[in-house]
Amino acid sequence: MWTWITDHSAVLALIKAIVWILPIFIIMPGTIWMERRLLGFFQDRVGPNRVGPFGMLQPIADGAKLFFKEEIVPSGIDKVTYVLAPWLMLIPPLTIGAVIPFAAPVGVYETLTPVADINVGVLYIMAMSSIGAYGLVLAGYSGNNKYSLMGGLRACAQLISYELSMGMAIGCVALMAGSLNVSQIVQWQHGSFWEIPNVWVHNWTIFSPMGFVAFIVFLICMVAESNRTPFDLPEAENELIAGYHTEYSSMKFASFYMGEYLGMLVFGTVLASLFLGGYDFLPIDWKMMALHNSGISSFALFMDRVTVDFGPVFLILKAVGVVLLYIWVRATLPRLRYDQLMNLGWKTLLPVITANLVLIAAWAVVHTVYGAWAAWIMVFVVYAIAVVVLSLNKRKQGDKPDPFESRKVTLVSGMTAEPQASEPEMAEVTAN
């Protein structure tokens, strides 16, 4: 039967898609539970603990509640966009996972993953995350009120601003790995550390300094793309009620809710594949260790077997670790104001990641022409210069303003009021 399935590529494609989508859908309520418990822990309170052991059935209870809620549809809306927007929020994160390999192409995994091994995989990820922006924009518009419209416009502006830096960060990885194919990027990361031959550490992107800068920038852009705090101005509860999903209730709201967590999980897998070595357990080359140290060779071969066979588990663990990071950042950092958000995206991240991309290109050229030592020395010299220049710049801007400079307020009747100047006058009045 397996050969029949592999012969009929349509059936195989369907099975591959189900094998990818079903675990993600099953883990997503787990991330919702994790978020609520962890946020409670960070905020010095107990999270939900009534519904099951440690509140583990809370997401299921939430889903049941949302299913049975009355669907309130506002009048005067554009029905097509109103119905379309939740789907556009739910489907693109799932389709991003089509190019992510969740295990090494060995044995049965070779036919099962990735769903589509396309040579422009990295651009496909960018394309699907761009389509994810449509859900927010249309949801904000179709609510027919100015608050959700503002939420939608803010979301749109934020998403297109951070897509640029995200694309450049992905471009950095593609430039280092030499391919746009995600499977090949993951396999490049399983090579030797910094491409020095015969080192028993894997070459994860995050280990090289350029890759680390790209990782930081991609992490910030990923949080911005998922509309999570500190970038959740589009759904700012204090200002915009619920932003772009104000007018949605019941299952459509559940679609937005689920879509956000699905996006977090899938972007976690993307981060893991591009920067953390994908389905690798530890960045250690077990086969090389087995070859060189015969004492622990059986243990090393066993670990190699575990790494290859349980690849999907490790990818999901890394994705869940990224979701933990998302929740941690949400609990810690305050929300960015809109102009701070745009300044960060355009004035800080984009120059940094462009300079990083140019540096990677320079590294590649110097590596080919002059050799590895010259290339890495050049990289470290450039980073040292950048750190020195930036720290000097910060010290110049760091002069604190005079605290009592402008505290005078002109009252309506023409008097001026000063801090701590009216107290003696009040004492005189009461004494009299």
Binding site: G76, D78, V80, T81, L84, I118, N119, V120, L123, Y124, M126, A127, S129, S130, I131, A133, Y134, V137, L138, G140, Y141, N144, K146, L149, G152, L153, C156, A157, L159, I160, E163, L180
Partner: protein, 180 residues
């Protein structure tokens, strides 16, 4: 079933959907629905590019056109919608009949010009190429496009980026102009 029939069926379904989406762009009464039909048209066009082995062109169609340009179109349309849904509807125009006739004539002319040379071609091997050119094995991939773009067409590439920068600077100047 003839060996090229499944391809033909898939192509005709996609092409029919693309034509319906294009008709939706011009016939729709709401600007948002026109924009959404255009998005659908672009997505189907990207799929058609993939069937023609132009992977990089298809995926760039989605990333650039659908993902960036149409989002900005929707942005502008939503900003203009402050007058409510009615302000984006247009009234019935008597010139539509003349426009339809002209459109049909144009479609017939273009169809005949495009179809006649290709009527006898049944497979990609029979396409007549200009003398001296050869189709690479890597046709349409990112590597082929990148190799050409950075070596032979380096000057047009840089000139195009300069053109885009001039456009950006010009739009910032226009936006910063104080409105009386």
């Amino acid at each position: 079933m003839a060996p090229e029939m499944p391809n033909l069926i898939a192509f005709s379904v996609l092409a029919a959907l693309a034509v319906l989406a294009a008709l939706g762009v011009i016939l729709s009464q709401s600007a948002i629905r026109s924009a959404l039909c255009l998005v659908g048209n672009f997505l189907i066009l990207a799929v058609l590019y993939f069937t023609l082995q132009s992977q990089i062109l298809g995926i760039l169609q989605v990333v650039v056109y659908t993902g960036a340009i149409m989002v900005l179109f929707l942005f502008v349309i939503m900003l203009l919608a402050t007058g409510g849904e009615k302000s984006l509807f247009e009234k019935r125009d008597p010139k539509r009949f003349a426009a339809a006739i002209t459109g049909i004539v144009l479609a017939v002319i273009i169809g005949v010009l495009v179809y006649l040379p290709m009527a006898s071609i049944k497979s990609p091997a029979q396409v007549p190429l200009p003398p001296g050119s050869q189709v690479q094995a890597q046709y349409g991939t990112a590597e082929a496009l990148g190799a050409q773009l950075f070596t032979q067409y380096g000057y047009p590439f840089e000139a195009a980026s300069l053109l885009l920068m001039v456009g950006i600077v010009g739009s910032i100047m226009l936006a910063k102009r104080k409105v009386r």
